[in-house]
Amino acid sequence: MSLDKSAVRSIAELARIEVPEEELDHLAGELSNILTFVEQLAEVNTDGVPPMTSVAAMALPMREDRVTDGGYPDGILANAPGAVVLRDSPQAPAQGGFFTVPKVVE
């Protein structure tokens, strides 16, 4: 499969990565090479072969319905750029708070 500029543009859009217009051609070439390389799989007969999603030969383990986590907004917000933390005094532990993003209009 060879990808053109506009295909790369829309993949980059889906992946939310800004790619400068002048890099699109080069990237299209590179990605096309990679796709050509992986396309050798087409020659393998996989009729009736179930896809392998995990190598772990076990069923999904489950946990009990108990509250064992959460309650630490300070930790949750500590690394967030532009977080708004609500607390009574600078020393007090957080009483919640928010992550912030540019305003979303729906």
Binding site: V8, E18, L35, T46, V49, P51, M52, A56, M58
Partner: protein
């Protein structure tokens, strides 16, 4: 003090126990080496003060008779493991300033065993690479040099390049690595040390920054087989916080090193000798077979016919999973944010500025192969071929107990070499990727030097959860190889 840094973990454990020196002394010796060898760029974050505090606490525990299995042993941690309060970068700009408020299960296990953390080791960005040249914090230099050309800086392999270099250069006694397609084994081979990727599910993935979830496994890197066995014993174990963690007992791996492999059948896959395999790599592989024969094991030629499809399979599965795993790096909750007028603009600018070329490339490939209309042709197809590759191994293990192959097709190459074409770079992992796809344990040990004085590794592959056999065979080969070479000046 340098003498202390030359000890193996096993020797250091013995002598610490006998009171010949303290954990503080041992840690100081390694801190000194870490500082004097900064030029290799093996560390992203050094934590000498924390290490010395931990060493003091370790000595106190020992005095109270509460020594763990790795009590007082200074280790390095690949900077893909989240460490509480210590910056964790995945060698990516996008994790700028990130300090995890939590500790990965594997590093917590090592701490519980008494190990001391010297700092966070460099790697390829998000563990994507085979040369440790994609790190935002710059490439790592291999302490080994070509005899013919000692001025040229060589790569340590990747992605656990900082780990391999630090262990080889005696900055740490051992290090954690992670292996998705060969990221423990290939750098171990390039740096003349031992590294094992255990069976998928052996070590918890909780708290390790994900690259490709169905492939990622943590493992130890150290200078001897026994040291790796000791480390793995501390790192491994069932973790209810990881749904893919195996509820399997952890054996005493060091005890498995009995030295007796008589009657064991060793598979020699013919597909691992492609045309154009470097002469000296083929030669060292043959030598390895001879060592095993001499020890009473029986080499058996086997066929793993789907081997040639492992690389293309991997380069669909791994990027697909990575494109999804790396969606969380969006500038909202941690790490880098590049402001934008709209939410989408912020995402796009942040991710463009935060991810390096290789990571971006893989995200785009992964996004493409999962997208509508292409899923079946690429992702579903790769998952089917993956099963065929795994079945190859299942069939082989009906007749053999362990498989011996080269670890990498070449010795370490120069920084800057091979970097213009991604597919050529990926060929580094041609011998390690099939094992990863099948989830099997694979160990690399140094078997000898190339004609230019660079280490060459051999890989042993075992049945699922049979690391004991892998270690046992590796121990015999280690004795036979008698690999005592060290990088010049180390």
């Amino acid at each position: 003090m340098t003498e202390l840094a030359n000890l193996t973990i096993a020797e250091a454990c013995d002598r610490l126990a006998k009171g010949e020196f303290t954990a503080v002394e041992l840690t100081r010796a390694h801190v000194a080496r870490m500082e004097s060898l900064r030029g290799l760029n093996a560390f992203i974050t050094e934590t000498p003060d924390r290490a010395l505090d931990e060493a003091k606490a370790s000595d106190a525990r020992r005095a109270k008779g509460e020594a763990g299995s790795l009590e007082g042993i200074p280790l390095g941690i690949k900077d893909l493991f989240c460490t509480e309060g210590v910056p964790t970068t995945a060698a990516s700009h996008i994790l700028d300033g990130f300090r995890p408020p939590y500790e990965s299960t594997v590093t917590a296990n090592l701490k519980k065993a008494g190990a001391i953390g010297l700092g966070k080791l460099n790697l390829d960005e998000f563990a994507m690479g085979s040369a440790n040249i994609t790190s935002y914090y710059g490439p790592v230099e291999n302490p080994w040099k070509r005899r013919s050309d000692p001025a040229t800086k060589l790569v340590p392999g990747g992605s656990s390049g900082g780990s391999a270099a630090a262990v080889a250069a005696r900055m740490v006694m051992g290090a954690t690595g992670t292996d998705t397609g060969g990221s423990i084994r290939q750098p171990a081979s390039f740096c003349g040390i031992v590294g094992i990727k255990p069976t998928y599910g052996r070590c918890s993935r909780w708290g390790i920054i994900a690259f490709a979830s169905s492939l990622d496994q943590a493992g130890p890197m150290a200078r001897t087989v026994k040291d790796c066995a000791l480390m793995l014993g501390a790192m491994a174990g069932h973790d209810p916080k990881d749904s893919t963690s195996a509820p399997m007992p952890v054996q005493d791996f060091a005890k498995a090193l009995s030295g007796d492999i008589r009657g064991l059948k060793v598979g020699i896959p013919k597909e691992y000798r492609p045309a154009g395999l470097a002469e000296e790599v083929a030669a060292i592989w043959d030598k390895g077979v001879e060592w095993l024969k001499a020890a009473g094991a029986q080499p058996v030629e086997i066929s793993l016919p789907y081997t040639k499809y492992a690389l293309p399979t991997y380069y669909i599965v791994a990027p697909a999973e990575c494109s999804s795993n790396l969606a969380r790096y969006d500038g909202v909750r941690f790490g880098l944010r590049v402001e934008g007028k709209t939410l989408d603009e912020m995402y796009k600018k942040t991710r463009a500025a935060g991810f390096g070329t290789e990571v971006r490339r893989r995200i785009l490939i992964g996004t493409y192969v999962l997208s509508a209309g292409y899923y079946d042709a690429y992702y579903a197809k790769a998952q089917k071929v993956r099963r065929l590759i795994a079945d190859d191994f299942n069939r082989a293990f009906e007749t053999v107990d362990v498989i011996l192959t080269p670890t990498a097709p070449t010795p370490a190459f120069a920084i800057g070499e091979k970097s213009d074409d991604p597919v050529t770079m990926w060929l580094n992992d041609v011998f390690t990727i099939p094992t990863s796809l099948a989830g099997l344990p694979g160990l690399s040990l140094p078997a000898g030097l190339s004609s230019d004085g660079l280490p060459l590794g051999l890989q042993l592959i075992g049945r699922p959860f049979d690391e004991e056999t892998v270690f046992r065979v590796a121990g015999v080969m280690e004795d036979a190889a008698g690999f005592t070479a060290r990088p010049e000046g180390i």
